[in-house]
Each structure stands twice: as structure tokens, then as C-alpha cells.
């Protein structure tokens, strides 16, 4: 059995969500190849070669792969598929975009967002915003999977680097073209893999309050900042802050929900967090049903108090 892991990277370095996918691939059992398709991506390939359990890096370097556009990447992966029993990618925005296209080109039914592997053909995945889990079995190969990164541990580095094999590019499909990218700049930890996440909801009332009340607290805790859909829709923070069923899925050690009522769509994105703290003025808010520690009250009073309490006992 050989397994192909499609790495997510920005040409310079691997995205951390690629690492749990290798752990998932190891659970399947078999030789693991990792594909780095990019442009001037030698650094990302060298980093990938150090991931424990990876046997071989397939490095395909050409301008048409620079931005990870789905059409060209899917074409390339489909051309490699004959060698593999399983093809895996992270269930990130990147993986969700490209992997179903690969499955369609191969006439295979993908299994999305798996959270557990039972054997080489049966998997568990959340449905209905995580309000139920289905365990499915699929008999065709290659099995096409996207892996929920928070459900598997990150793989450690290995001392000896895997071999890097250069691959020729596939033909340019010329169906889509990259125009621009506007990324949110932040010095805080990455939301998807921060140890502590503090999220704000509509209760914050404005983007200024995010800045004045939530950010200092995040800095005291070394936390990433997230948000509910309501806060993003209201324009308080950018879209990439959104935690939930259709936003980012996070599972930090500590998740602090501030002014978030706890719609099922939000809970779907954070309820696997180790410890959940909820701060809300409505004591009947659904968020308290899943919180380990609940604090009922006015967040405008409680957040400064919380910050003072953190600074005092530090």
C-alpha cells in the first residue's frame, strides 16, 4: 500500500495542517509519499522531507502551481494516482477546494473531514455541524480523504531526510488565473493551531471593542483571536477569524467565548476544545451548556477585571 499526502504550503514553508494528515496516513499503514506542488518551493520540500514517517517527497516545481489553483493541481494529482491506495489532504480551505476535483477526475467518491480511522476503508466523520457522526465504509481505490487537522496529532520531525524526487509539471489547464490575495496580518498565534483562543461575538458590539477589550487579553494570554459568524457579518473582524461549521475548526487547550450565545454552527467549530470558558450576560445562552467554566455578567466590566486578575496573579 502506498499513500499520497498532498501538502499545503506557501512555497516557503509547510502549513501546520499538513502534519496531522501524515499522522492519519501513518494510521492507515503503508509507505507515505508527500506531494509539494509549487513554484520556487524547495524550502517547503526540504521541510517536508523532515517529517517523521514520510518516505519520499514528490516535488513538482513550476509557475502554474505557485498559487495552488485547483484545476492544475487536480490534474497533476490525478496523473499520479495509479500508484496509490489512498490520497489524503487536510480539510482546510485549500484541501476542501482541490480534493473533490481530484476525486471527480478519478470517478471516486471522496470521504470528507475524517476524524477517526478504523481500518484502510472505514472512517468516521462529523455531519450536521458535528451533532452526529457517521462511520462509513468504502471499497474503491484510491480512497480519497480529507482529514480534520485537529483530530490527529502533528507528526514530529525525523533525523534523516526523506528523498526528494523532482516531478515534471502536467499541462496548464488555463481555466483560472490568480489575481490577488489580501491576507490579514497578525503577530498573534495562528488561529487554527493556537494553544489558547479567545473569540468574540456580537456581544462585543463593535470592531473597536475587539481591539480595546479582546486584543489586550489575547496578548496577556498569548492567545489567537477568533470570532462568531455574527461578529464577522457585522464587520467587526475579517472573515478569516470565523470559527464554526463553515469557518475554521479549532481545538485549543483553552477556548474563551466572549459575548457568543453559542449557535450550533459556532459550537461545531470549537466544541472539541479541551477547556471551554464562556462569558455572557445571558445565563440561558446555549454556550453555557458546553462550557467547563461559565461567567455570567457584563463583558464590558468582566474583561478588564479578567485582565487585571491575570496580571495580578502572574
Amino acid at each position: 500500500m502506498r499513500i499520497l499526502v498532498i501538502a499545503e504550503h506557501d512555497n516557503k514553508s509547510l502549513k501546520s495542517c499538513s502534519l496531522p494528515v501524515v499522522t492519519a496516513a501513518s494510521e492507515l499503514g503503508g509507505e507515505i509519499d508527500m506531494l509539494i506542488a509549487g513554484h520556487n518551493a524547495a524550502d517547503a520540500a526540504a521541510q517536508a522531507a523532515k517529517i517523521s514517517g514520510v518516505k519520499r517527497i514528490l516535488h513538482c516545481d513550476a509557475p502554474l502551481y505557485e498559487r495552488g489553483l485547483a484545476e492544475n493541481l487536480a490534474q497533476l494529482v490525478a496523473s499520479l494516482s495509479a500508484d496509490y491506495s489512498h490520497i489524503l489532504a487536510p480539510a482546510s480551505f485549500f484541501g476542501k477546494n482541490v480534493t473533490p476535483r481530484i476525486a471527480a477526475l478519478l470517478d471516486r467518491q471522496q470521504i470528507s473531514d475524517i476524524t477517526a480511522i478504523h481500518d484502510a476503508k472505514s472512517f468516521t466523520r462529523p455531519i450536521y455541524a458535528g451533532n452526529a457522526f457517521e462511520t462509513v465504509e468504502i471499497s474503491e481505490t484510491p480512497v480519497i480523504l480529507t482529514v480534520r487537522p485537529t483530530a490527529f496529532d502533528a507528526t514530529p520531525e525525523q533525523a534523516e531526510s526523506a528523498a526528494i524526487t523532482a516531478l515534471p509539471p502536467a499541462e496548464d489547464t488555463d481555466l483560472s488565473a490568480f489575481v490577488s490575495r489580501a491576507l490579514t496580518k497578525s503577530d498573534r498565534p495562528d488561529l487554527a493551531n493556537a494553544a489558547i483562543v479567545i473569540s468574540g461575538g456580537r456581544g462585543l458590539g463593535s470592531g473597536e471593542n475587539f481591539k480595546d477589550l479582546l486584543e489586550p487579553l489575547a496578548d496577556s494570554l498569548g492567545a489567537a483571536i477568533g470570532a462568531s459568524r455574527a461578529a464577522v457579518d457585522a464587520g467587526y473582524v475579517p472573515n478569516d477569524y470565523q470559527v464554526g461549521q463553515t469557518g475554521k475548526i479549532v481545538a485549543p487547550n483553552l477556548y474563551i467565548a466572549v459575548g457568543i450565545s453559542g449557535a450550533v454552527q459556532h459550537l461545531a467549530g470549537m466544541k472539541d476544545s479541551k477547556i471551554i470558558v464562556a462569558i455572557n450576560k445571558d445565563e440561558d445562552a446555549p454556550i453555557f451548556q458546553i462550557a467547563d467554566y461559565g461567567l455570567v455578567g457584563d463583558l464590558f466590566q468582566l474583561l478588564p477585571e479578567l485582565r487585571a486578575a491575570l496580571d495580578n496573579s502572574a
Partner: protein, 249 residues
Amino acid sequence: MKILVPIKRVIDAYVTIRVKADQTGVENANVKMSVNPFCEIAVEEAIRLKEAGKATEVIVVSAGNAATQESLRAALAMGADRAILIETDQELQPLAIAKLLKAVAEKEQAGLVILGKQSIDGDHNQTGQMLAGLLGWGQATFASSLTLENDRATVTREIDGGLETLSLKLPAIITADLRLNEPRYASLPNIMKAKQKPLDRLNPDALGVDVTPRYKTLRVSEPPPRKPGVKVESAAALVEKLRGEAKII
């Protein structure tokens, strides 16, 4: 240019989901059904393009049992021109749906297909991307803005870390994210009018598509429960719990 908008009928987003005792699925008898929220956004976007003179016709299509026509009527009431129901009682998995949609897109010679980015029941997030692959068209998923000009679509997409803008050759596939637009409510006169709009019926055999499920669902189970939490009295008490009991900060 014709715009095809595939929609899905799902358990309403505000219904509490309960797993059946025999673990074969979730309770769906006598629960409220609605058009998947992301599909409504797709319908709205198509109607706006037609209103702006960028499209000639908006066709909504859905695959499912006879009751699915209610969802198609809802989309017609929003302003779609006509509907196609691919009628089947068979369980449909995303690849099968994508194949059905490919057949319809080709038959209708659609110039653009707009779908919701995912359905809130299966949460697969596959159908649009698969349809793009099967048709050999360009794709822009998770769209938060869309403009059409000179046979190209310019789409801003929500990605990890921010936004990305792509330019696609038409025909193309767009999948709608939450912030693409806010769908309108159908007015009463439009709901009445929708009853007279054409709704064609097809079936998978007539489209020459094998919809046999590819994976088997072994069981559906409840999520693992969380242990009950406690309320704390003050910010100071919270910090004490986090340090002393949870040892997390």
C-alpha cells in the same frame, strides 16, 4: 447566458438534530425542511445577475424525492425562472449528484453554475468542485463577491488567512460562501406566481447516470458528551480555576 443553480433540501438549520436509536441516521420524520442556506445565497446571486442584465435565465435544479419540489418552488418564488426536479428516492452521494448536474448543465448549455459551498446536513463540501472537475470547467469556491465581464468571472474567495481573487474563463463553477449576499424573502405575490412557473421532471435513468452509492454508512452516532461545567462568580475566581484546577494558564 443561462445560469444553473443546483439547490438541496435539508433539515432546517434551527431544528435540533437527534440520532435515531438504531443508529441508521438522524430523525427526519415530521421535521421542518428548508432550502440549504448556502443554496439560497446561490439562488439570490443568480437572480441579481439576471436583474443586472448579465444573464437571460435562472434555472434551479434539485435531485431528491417528490417533496423536493417544495424547495424548488421556494427558489422560483425568490425569482428563478424555471425548475428541474430530478426525481429519485435513492440515497444520493456527492459524486452521483455532480454527475446528474453535469448532465443537466450540458443539456441546458448553462454558461455559469452557482452552488452553495456545502450543505448543512452532510457537510461534505464536494459537489461544486466535483461538477467543475467532471465538466472540465474552472472553479471558484467559497465566493464572497462575483462580477462578470467579457466572458470572464472575477471572484473573491474566502481562504485561510484572508481573501483571494481569481479570474475564471466562462463557463465556470462558483460556490457561494455566507457573505456573497443576503438572500431576499419571497413576497406573497411572488409565491403565488411561482406556482405557475414551469417545473420539469427528470430522473437519473433518463439522464443516463448511475447513482448507486459508493460508500456504505455503517452507523450514525451521537457526538461524545462533554462533562457538565460550573458557573464561577467573578473574573478572579475564573483565573483561579484556570490556574489551580485546569492548570491551563
